[in-house]
């Protein structure tokens, strides 16, 4: 009874020790649309979290037109990160804790810092400890004041209490003004291309509103100088020819929509280059695997045939017997003649027989000049009556 109690107590203590030493998601969460508290994670729990010492700065316009592209630039620095140097960054419409993503406030995310369209992104922070990232948003259609917040989640290398760190900015106010009549901009149903297959030079598609002329500039990420793309189209449907990219390159492009006195230059967007899509499947993999195995087995078994020691020639070689018979000069009784006929038959080709030479000195024996050996004459065995 006492032993079982000790066992149960040990197990409970073991569970408790295990739970205190564990961490929630030390590898971070993948890019997605997430609320401020991240689904009730440790970062949002006051008993498990601690304030981050990061400096977060938001830079964007103070006013923008309803339904137009707006860029939000975020700089983050000064935080103590864990060894994996991962940082989760949220762009939020409020910090209510739920239903607080930009889309809940009628913003549309055209592009996030990783090329997708999420309000939460996981960023690897370089050793410098400072990052600057950008979201490109489509402003709400309703006129009035809006606020943008940024929140960060991260761990820490020196973190004895296993705290989950959280940092949040004050709201950045943006006034949404009504859009002038005939103001050219991108269509609200247009989706930015996230990636393009390497070598693909098919034109990019753009849908606009109130646009007479569309121009597109492009550049490789990191370049300062931009190039003008060839654009064709009409009636707010456009195609821009941007050269194919290869390898691990990222192309940035900027759209300028014009009509009359308006000239709407939008923020830079970007798209990744991905390798060609893989067209293999499980059946093909299995078939190729099995056929490769069988080819190897077949090849090695064939090599066994070629490399196997040949005993046949040794058995055919009767030189010793001939020499012995010459020395003894006694005919060998026919009963003692080695039974070599079956083996000879195996190689009993015309070519083999034609090369055998009769010898008057050794009746009953034939000389093989190729192998330099005496073989028994099957038609006149040594020691026979003939």
């Amino acid at each position: 009874m006492m032993k079982s109690r000790i066992l149960v107590l040990t197990i409970i203590i073991g569970f408790l020790l295990t739970s205190t030493s564990s961490m929630a998601n030390p590898g971070g969460e993948v890019d997605s649309n997430r609320d401020f508290t991240c689904g009730g994670s440790c970062h949002g729990d006051p008993s498990l979290s601690a304030p981050s010492d990061a400096v977060i700065e938001i830079r964007t316009v103070n006013t923008t037109y309803a339904g137009t592209m707006t860029e939000v630039e975020v700089s983050i620095s000064g935080m103590d990160l864990s060894k994996n140097r991962l940082l989760g960054v949220f762009l939020l419409g409020s910090i209510n804790g739920n239903s607080d993503t930009p889309s809940d406030y009628d913003w549309s995310i055209i592009q996030d810092p990783n090329g997708g369209s999420s309000n939460y992104v996981l960023i690897f922070v370089p050793e410098s400890g400072e990052i600057t990232i950008n979201w490109v948003l489509l402003a709400p259609s309703e006129v009035g004041p809006q606020s943008i917040y940024v929140s960060i989640h991260h761990g820490s290398d020196s973190n004895p209490d296993n705290r989950a760190f959280i940092g949040t900015t004050e709201g950045y106010s943006i006034q949404i003004d009504s859009i002038p009549d005939d103001y050219p901009t991108i269509a609200d149903n247009w989706v930015a291309l996230e990636e393009r297959v390497a070598g693909d030079d098919s034109p990019l598609q753009f849908s606009t509103v109130n646009t007479d002329v569309l121009s597109v500039e492009w550049r490789l990420a990191g370049e300062i100088e931009s190039h003008t793309a060839e654009v064709v189209g009409a009636d707010n449907e456009w195609q821009a020819q941007i050269p194919a990219s290869l390898g691990d390159t990222r192309i940035e492009y900027r759209i300028t929509a014009s009509q009359g006195e308006y000239n709407n230059q939008m923020p830079w967007l970007s798209m990744d280059t991905v390798p060609p899509y893989f067209d293999g499947n499980l059946f093909g993999a299995r078939l190729q695997s099995i056929s490769s195995a069988l080819i190897i087995i077949g090849f090695v078994l064939t090599m066994h045939m070629i490399l196997a020691p040949r005993q046949k020639k040794d058995e055919l070689d009767q030189t010793l017997e001939v020499e012995t018979s010459e020395e003894v000069s006694e005919p060998i009784p026919i009963e003692e003649i080695p039974d070599i006929e079956p083996e000879v038959e195996n190689d009993d080709t015309e070519e083999y027989n034609s090369r055998l030479i009769h010898s008057e000195d050794n009746p009953g024996w034939l000389w093989d000049p190729v192998e330099s050996e005496w073989v028994a004459d099957p038609n006149n065995p040594p020691g026979g009556d003939s």
């Binding site: 893989f278 293999g280 993999a285 190729q288 695997s289 056929s291 077949g298 090695v300 078994l301 064939t302």
Partner: protein
């Protein structure tokens, strides 16, 4: 969940026995040249045979458990490569066992056949290391291949059309049939 655990366990056995087979076969072959190893040739022979049999049993299990442990086993180039390389490893292992069974334990006394055995065992060991290294790269981001000055690009592969694989399959079966049934009888090597 259990497929992943089982896969890790069975891969450990398959790769361990595969490496043991390769090393023992290499030492048995070296026994033809190094007099000190000659005394242990019989032990190396038996160890390599037993480990190759265990490896041959475990490798298909590792392939099947790996198939169930991933969501798209044949649809990603790096996993497709694992299939192909596993097939090569199985082919070399089966060839090693076939040679040892057909010619007996004295196969190491014949230089040409023992060299072929050594090549088969080394080939199996090489492809097991490559396949295991790819698995290590996928699961933990590192592998023994990291010590090499270069890392081959296993993120791309050659996908053969299914009809070429079928031709190879038929050719392989035909060559095995010819070698075993229509070829000359192969005897065990004696002293």
């Amino acid at each position: 969940m259990f497929a992943i655990t089982f896969h890790h366990m069975i891969v450990g056995i398959a790769s361990g026995t595969g490496i043991l087979m390769g090393i023992c076969a290499l030492l048995a072959w070296l026994g033809n040249f190094v007099s000190n190893l000659d005394d242990f040739q019989q032990s190396f022979d038996k160890t390599s045979l037993l480990s190759s049999i265990l490896c041959f049993i475990c490798m298909p299990l590792a392939i099947f458990s790996g198939t169930y442990a991933t969501s798209d086993p044949g649809g990603i180039a790096i996993l497709y490569n694992k299939f192909v390389f596993s097939g090569l490893a199985i082919g070399f292992t089966a060839s090693f066992i076939a040679g040892r069974v057909r010619f007996g334990e004295k196969i190491w006394n014949d230089f040409k056949l023992s060299t072929l055995q050594m090549i088969c065992a080394s080939g199996a060991m090489f492809w097991i290391i490559i396949t295991g290294s790819i698995g290590g790269k996928i699961s933990i981001g590192e592998s023994v291949m990291d010590i090499m000055p270069f890392w081959p690009d296993f993120t791309s592969t050659i996908v053969l059309p299914w009809w070429i694989s079928m031709v190879m399959l038929v050719f392989g079966i035909a060559s095995i049939f010819v070698a075993l049934k229509l070829g000359p009888t192969v005897n065990k090597i004696s002293d």
